[in-house]
């Protein structure tokens, strides 16, 4: 009887000590499933690895995942639910910029750590940055800046621009114009097309771009818009003798659907998953393929690294207390499938980079060639500019 008591007492005290750390995760799974299903697989892989290795500080890591409905209003409600009903210690996730900004704003109000894994908007770490929000992926500005050296090397004078008409596309276009004009004075921007997201009238847009007779095109199109643009452009011969630079064009999520119509020679940011043979990436790729019997996409890397970031921060902080986590994440250095990354104290942006390369066709599908890794730390405005934007 006494031993039973003792065991029971031990179990109770043990369970109090080893209360799991709960990650409240929310994302627009129904609106952007192509990106977010691999993301979810990446998260789960990281979770299994961490818990198999004994968790964090002796505590298991738990993931509570929710669909945020794809709108800021619903996302805020879901985040509240994760915090008050599910007792989440940290918030993580979101895809679209407006949803990410709304949840970041809530995190600041409720004083809880929010790791924005996917939104690309510059504002989430700059104009609307706050103490409790950190962002993993390279921002629109960073990825545009990574492409500018390649664009300048092309030595083209007449540039046309095409982008989806919302904040991501607008700020990509603005950053590209500013940075390329600095890198290569005397260039001209001869046409600008901003079709509505997901509703590009590709025939008319391709025609209008061709009419401007550009030497080169900068595009920030992705997903369905990119597919339509590529097919119309190929049919109408737009890309003959015109260089193209396309943000995000090499990400498997957007490249794979192009199949044998992949336009060759375009400069893109992306993820050549089959060719990166660094030890850290090989380990990740093998584990991912073994676990899911599928190849990793960018989303997989983002989900995987986000969970590890929280685990590492909790390990460094020695607790799941919000304020300690915030201090721990600032300046945290960690390993990712893309190599070592640092969480910048100045704006809470991670230095995770992207791969810059050219598109090519190989066996009826698109691949990236001539690629190199662009380290996110190198593609940032000056600290002074950032402080001005963050109003600090």
């Amino acid at each position: 009887m006494r031993t039973v008591f003792l065991v029971a007492a031990l179990m109770v005290s043990n369970s109090v000590l080893a209360q799991p750390i709960r990650i409240g995760e929310l994302n627009s799974y129904k609106v952007f499933p192509a990106f977010l299903e691999p993301y979810k697989k990446g998260m789960e892989l990281a979770l299994e690895e961490i818990n198999a290795a004994g968790g964090v500080n002796g505590r298991k890591l738990e993931l509570v995942s929710r669909d945020d409905g794809g709108t800021p209003g619903d996302a805020v409600r879901v985040a509240e639910e994760l915090l008050s009903r599910e007792k989440a210690d940290v918030l993580m996730g979101t895809f679209a910029s407006n949803v990410g900004l709304a949840v970041a704003n809530l995190a600041n109000q409720r004083k809880v750590l929010f790791l924005a894994s996917e939104p690309l908007t510059d504002k989430i770490v700059w104009e609307n940055g706050n103490r409790y929000t950190f962002r993993l992926r390279p921002s629109t500005y960073m990825q545009t800046a990574m492409l500018v050296p390649q664009a300048a090397k092309l030595g083209k004078k007449r540039w046309a621009i095409v982008y989806p008409n919302y904040e991501y596309g607008q700020s990509a276009a603005a950053s590209f114009k500013k940075l390329l004009s600095q890198a290569q004075p005397g260039i001209e921007f001869v046409a600008e097309q901003a079709p509505a997201l997901g509703k590009i009238d590709a025939g008319a847009v391709v025609q209008a771009l061709a009419d401007a007779k550009p030497d080169a095109i900068f595009s920030a199109l992705f997903a369905a818009d990119l597919q339509k643009f590529v097919r119309e452009g190929n049919t109408r011969g737009l890309f003959k003798n015109v260089a193209v630079v396309n943000l995000l064009g090499g990400e498997p999520e957007y490249l794979d659907p192009l199949k044998d119509e992949t336009p060759e020679g375009w400069w893109v940011t992306g993820y050549p998953w089959s060719e990166i043979d660094t030890p850290e990436h090989k380990r990740f790729r093998d584990a991912y393929q073994k676990r899911w019997n599928d190849y990793p996409r960018v989303g997989s890397v983002v989900g995987y690294t986000s969970v590890y970031a929280i685990a590492n921060a909790a390990k460094k902080a020695g607790s799941a207390d919000t304020e300690k986590l915030v201090e721990a994440l600032k300046g945290l250095q960690m390993q990712s499938p893309f190599g070592p990354i640092t969480w910048r104290p100045i704006d809470h942006q991670s230095t995770m980079g992207a791969y810059v390369g050219q598109l090519a066709k190989k066996g009826g599908r698109g691949v990236m060639v001539n690629w190199h890794y662009a380290d996110g730390a190198k593609f940032q405005p000056s600290d002074r500019e950032i402080r001005a934007l963050r109003k600090e």
Binding site: K30, E81, E192, Q207
Partner: protein, 607 residues
Amino acid sequence: MSGSAVLLQFLNGLSGASALFLVAAGLSLIFGVTRIVNFAHGSLYMLGMYLAVWLSARIGFWASVPLAAALVAAGGAAVEMLLLRRIYKAPELFQLLATFAVVLLVKDLALWAWGPEDTLGPRAPGFAGAVEIAGRAFPQYDLLLIGLGPLVFLLLYLLLTKTRWGILVRAATQDREMVGALGVNQKLLFTAVFMLGAGLAGLGGALVIPREPASLEIDLAVVSDAFVVVVVGGLGSIPGAFLAALLIGEIKAFCIGLGYSKITLAVEFIVMAVVLVLRPWGLLGRPQAAMRGPAALEAPLDPPSGRAVAALLALFAGLAAIPAFTTGYTLVLLTDVLVFALFAASLHFMMGPGGMASFGHAAYFGLGAYGAGVLLLRLAAPMELALALAPLFALAGALVFGWFCVRLSGVYLAMLTLAFAQIAWSIAFQWDAVTGGSNGLIGVWPAAWLASKTAFYYAALLVCAAALALLWRLVFSPFGYALRASRDSALRAEAIGIPVRAVQWAAFCVAGLFAGLAGALFAFSKGSISPETLSVPRSVEGLVMVLLGGVQTLTGPVWGAALFTWLEDSVSRGFEYWRAAIGGVILLLVLAFPRGVAGFVRERIAR
């Protein structure tokens, strides 16, 4: 633009117009005969796309097109026979709720069957390349489409004018009761028309796969485009739809050609607003014949009995006691319910007693929300003042939009409200300096003393209860009776000296004002606002809430809002296919309670 550029953009416009006409024609036919606002038309189109993509990998593109169209036609017939046939007698617009449920079901069906990735179809064999026109490459397939649109138009025209069946269809478009009275089998006619319309949607979807990837988001995008074409052309008029498709296709192509691509966000809605203001029944439409039969007669609305008032007061007291038991998520959810209840009730004020359905009520919700944000962030007003003044933004919008809208009636009125809402949305979406563009306004939090969940819940409860009481009181004021008189018989109301239009305009403004109040509360409860607060899905949610609760009841919309918000919250957590689950629940409710949930309860009590 050079001469050859003009020619090429003209051709681009023509091929766009053909694709648009194919979906719009089916929608126009269906509406003309059955009077059903078929929200699921875009879903049928999407189904056609997915089927064609899937089939063309197996049996080739050209064989897949007719087969996909036939399969979609069969699916349309099934929807008509199993679902819509049961609810033709329900109040007008109630079928809209049923088709909305179909939208949700089809979307998840497509996700389940074909996965989440956007898939582009193959190039059409024989039409894969380009021909040279004026020194430029033009896709052969676009030329084919340019020919196909008019061909389908011609065939439809012949079918409708030269065959006995076509004459019956046209007769039913004008006066379906009379056709029924003359001994024509209406059931068969309706099923056949629905099948033909669905088949056209499927054909349109199948034909477009070499140009456009099949995606899960296409359904609502297409149905709103198709509605615009149908309404601009005149409901039920096939030549009108053709003309409207041409007009909109060309305007879009030339906006892009001339470098005004940003305006394509709302250009078709601007066209629709202009056309409807100038020609209230569209380009080639005719005034609708008055509805006869049970659907046209509304039972008079009785003032709530003493017992009903007591029950509502008890409910209010119960809600006020909730923070004593929990201060957690329940309060967040209940705040949402309260805000949407007020939003739905404001829409109901113009839909029920006013008889003016709105497809764009989110405009006023959004204007209120943006009003609050702009006052707080841009003009540095204190939060309490911002909350008090924000509804005036919505009122201003309603004053302007309403002035035009009350000159129309029925679906035309509803579509004009949609047009204004879309124009307001595109302005909010692009006016970075004031509205924050697509990201919206961030940091719209209540004042410190209202910042806790409990405090804000009490604020929302008080404001919403007071607003609801005022709205319901208005329904039974002389103004409310005049409003119902104007709805039931504009002619007789006019004769006894009621200024019908002025009364309707005032009702429109009241509805806008209260929606704006709900929007302002919403903004402060979320801390941020983005353009989705005035987008089409928000308007549709409002409609669904009102219809779920029951249009011709007083408190129905409040229950509808509570049910829908709770359903969305609980189901989206539990199931992966939660959209389909919500669709299924709505379908069950539609079939079980064709007068709405509250309408059903009222009938049971009356019995």
